[in-house]
């Protein structure tokens, strides 16, 4: 497609990786909804409950851009990632990829588009077939999409990608269990990259890894993004990791978008009370700062996604909540350039914590 020309103009080669590129979006998700029907309560029940795992989410993703998606368990971040690739059927909405709605495509057309979009998973060992050699694992997408490719060419490509992701190409005939977690994640990345995709969805790619290995994988993903003008969707619950790798960040709560902004405004000046609480809850590896900081401790737990609260979903745990929040769902307010937050009171300061 004409995407390459667009990409090179949109992405200044001197960009260090943290300023978001502009230009036409590669991926445009519009009002996406993924609802799961719950089992009927009894045999003759006429009513069914739905879990709205993703509930009306829209965003654009540009070439060379990383969109971070953060939120706690049950916020719908993984469902959203999978729904974009149609690994989970969407209930409603549009997923426009290079100008074409993926949800309108037939099975075989969709399959062809998948060359451009790949995914890497949290548990690196579980996502690799234990009976295949890593050479076969990395070659599988190639063989699937280019059945005519000569074996020698496949092998050369596999070895080239192994080197790219920091694996010794001579290990091509080994099996996944012979590798450590970090190396398995590298294999997963090589498998995702071997078709030269334009979009990679990273679903908690470093959460299962040790700290010293985590930074290696983050660096690798950022290097690949620079070299191949990749668009990344980076799903994680770790706010420090997301800050490091992302240009823009979306914060989800119970399937809804509560705040979206570029990296610095989101972390330096969060507007939604949930984002503020999330950021303040991250334990800092700095004893003085960690002990001095004022933490916003939320009361209670995540409400049940089957029967979410009325009005604003966050109001049951929100220090700012008023009667209005129970009645009226807050729209996404424009609170700054490219910065939107779904809170009636985004403009008022956080109330001081109640005295103990």
């Amino acid at each position: 497609m004409t995407d390459t020309a667009l990409a090179s103009s949109a992405l200044d080669p001197t960009t260090t990786g943290q300023t978001a590129p502009h230009g036409a979006p590669r991926l445009s998700v519009k009002d996406l909804r993924v609802h799961f029907a719950m089992p009927k309560r009894h045999l003759f029940a006429t009513h069914r409950d739905y879990i709205k795992a993703v509930d009306g989410i829209s965003f654009d993703l540009h070439p060379g851009e990383t969109l971070g998606i953060v939120g706690e368990s049950g916020c719908g971040k993984s469902t959203l990632g999978r729904a974009i690739l149609r690994l989970i059927p969407a209930t409603e909405g549009k997923i426009v990829w290079l100008g074409e709605d993926l949800l309108a495509l037939g099975k075989s057309d969709m399959r062809r588009r998948r060359q451009d979009m790949q995914i890497i998973f949290q548990d690196p060992l579980a996502s690799l077939n234990p009976r295949m050699t890593i050479g076969d694992i990395i070659a599988e997408p190639l063989k699937t999409f280019n059945p005519g490719m000569p074996a020698s060419e496949v092998k050369a490509k596999v070895r080239e990608w192994m080197a790219q992701v920091g694996l010794v190409p001579d290990m091509i005939n080994r099996y996944p269990h012979e590798f450590s977690g970090g190396q398995c994640q590298r294999i997963g990345i090589a498998r995702a990259m071997v078709l030269n995709p334009k979009l990679v969805i990273c679903d908690e790619p470093v959460s299962a890894l040790d700290v010293s290995i985590q930074s290696q994988i983050i660096n690798l993903l950022m290097k690949l993004q620079r070299e191949f003008d990749l668009s990344l969707v980076f799903i994680s619950h770790d706010l420090s990791v997301v800050r490091h790798i992302s240009h823009r960040i979306m914060v989800l709560y119970l399937g809804k978008l509560v705040e979206v902004a570029e990296r610095d405004p989101l972390y330096d000046n969060p507007r939604h009370p949930y984002t503020q609480a999330l950021i303040s809850a991250v334990p800092l590896p700095d004893p003085d700062a960690e002990r001095a900081k004022q933490r916003i401790v939320l009361t209670g737990d995540l409400p049940s996604p089957v029967s979410p609260p009325s009005g604003c979903y966050f109001r049951t745990r929100c220090p700012k909540a008023t009667d209005r929040c129970a009645m009226e769902e807050p729209p996404l307010h424009q609170v700054g350039p490219g910065h939107r937050a779904a809170c009636h009171y985004w403009d008022t300061p956080m109330p001081a914590p109640a005295a103990e």
Partner: protein, 340 residues
């Protein structure tokens, strides 16, 4: 990097801490596992003290042996594991103690909580049953007294409506609430020492913040010594007075929390701290990282275990395993380098 910045003192000053009576004394602990591929040494000549009322943080990555040290202490090693050396709890040798005798100490005077609160609670029994059992066993309390005390304990860990919720089953609690129940059970007999093995790793950030806040309050209210085992340096920074850093079965560095974070003296500690992405700070495209992987415990490198990944390694590191040496009051490291 060597200078520790002056600031409000965090935790008790080292001198005061040293005078407090010792709760746990571990000396020359070795833990080995027999595997089909041969013997694996998970803990290698580890010695340390835990004193009354202090919080000791143990940091390390998977396979560093940080959990196995305390599984050995608690007598909870897997069947193929053997621990040698000395573990004294209140001057009484407990390593190799028969389980019946050990049961009088663990649960009552020292207790442990684990990462996953769901698998540590019995799903078939109400919370009430699981709590009162501890008091009836260890304290010889009657059922009604035990229940009253249990409700008080649930109140202490801030479980709302404790009186009603004590009748519930574990699955009726959320993850954060289950971890509170576990902490309540562990504290029922007012133990001298609480061992928390990755207590917040399975929890969401906002729930983790609640549990950390709770542990912080309990620490000041109860004067229980806490051992905090975790890979999360942020959790360690917030709660610990002293820190032990473990790598491949060895303690590689120890010191007061501010010394460890502001003036690490072992290349591994320094590397760990540098490789953490931060919430604030200047632009950086590449995170500093420690190259390579943690060693396979069956094929440890010659000399220093960290040598293949160490940016400072020199000839001596290849041939001679560095012994732990004192580098200041309460401060030691296992590294041939004099200063970083």
């Amino acid at each position: 990097m060597t200078e520790v910045p002056e600031a409000a003192a965090v935790g008790p000053p080292p001198a005061a801490a040293a005078e407090r009576p010792t709760v746990l004394a571990v000396d020359g602990l070795n833990t080995r596992f027999d595997t089909p591929e041969g013997e694996v040494c998970a803990v290698n000549d580890v010695s340390f003290r835990v004193r009354e009322g202090e919080t000791v943080g143990i940091v390390g990555e998977s396979g560093s042996g940080k959990s196995q040290v305390f599984m050995s202490v608690m007598g909870l090693l897997a069947a193929n594991g053997r621990a040698t050396g000395s573990v004294k709890f209140r001057d009484q040798e407990i390593l190799g103690m028969p389980p019946q005798k050990l049961n009088r100490i663990r649960g009552a005077h020292m207790s442990m909580i684990f990462q996953d609160p769901m698998t540590s609670l019995n799903p078939y029994l109400t919370v009430s049953r699981q709590m009162t059992e501890v008091l009836v066993q260890h304290k010889g309390m009657g059922e009604s007294d035990a229940e009253k005390r249990s409700v008080e304990m649930l109140d202490l860990v801030r479980i709302p409506e404790a009186k009603r919720r004590i009748r519930m089953y574990p699955h009726e609690f959320s993850g954060g609430m289950r971890q509170r129940v576990m902490i309540a059970i562990a504290l029922l007999c007012q133990p001298d020492m609480l061992i928390a093995d990755e207590p917040t790793t399975a929890l969401d950030v906002t729930v983790q913040a609640q549990i950390l806040e709770l542990m912080h309050d309990l620490k000041t209210e109860l004067n229980t010594a806490i051992v905090l085992i975790t890979h999360d340096l942020g959790v360690i920074a917030g709660l610990s007075d002293r820190v032990l850093v473990m790598y491949a079965g060895n303690i590689v560095e120890r010191g007061a929390v501010r010394e460890i974070f502001y003036g690490p003296q072992h290349p591994y500690t320094e590397g760990l701290l540098k490789s953490m992405p931060r919430l604030t700070g200047t632009e950086q495209t590449e995170l500093p990282s420690i190259p390579g992987q943690p060693p396979n415990l069956q094929h440890l490198p010659s000399g220093c275990n960290f040598r293949p990944r160490c940016a400072y390694a020199f000839d001596r590191c290849r041939v001679e395993e560095p012994a732990q040496r004192d580098i200041g009051p309460g401060r030691a490291k296992a590294c041939h380098l004099d200063a970083l």
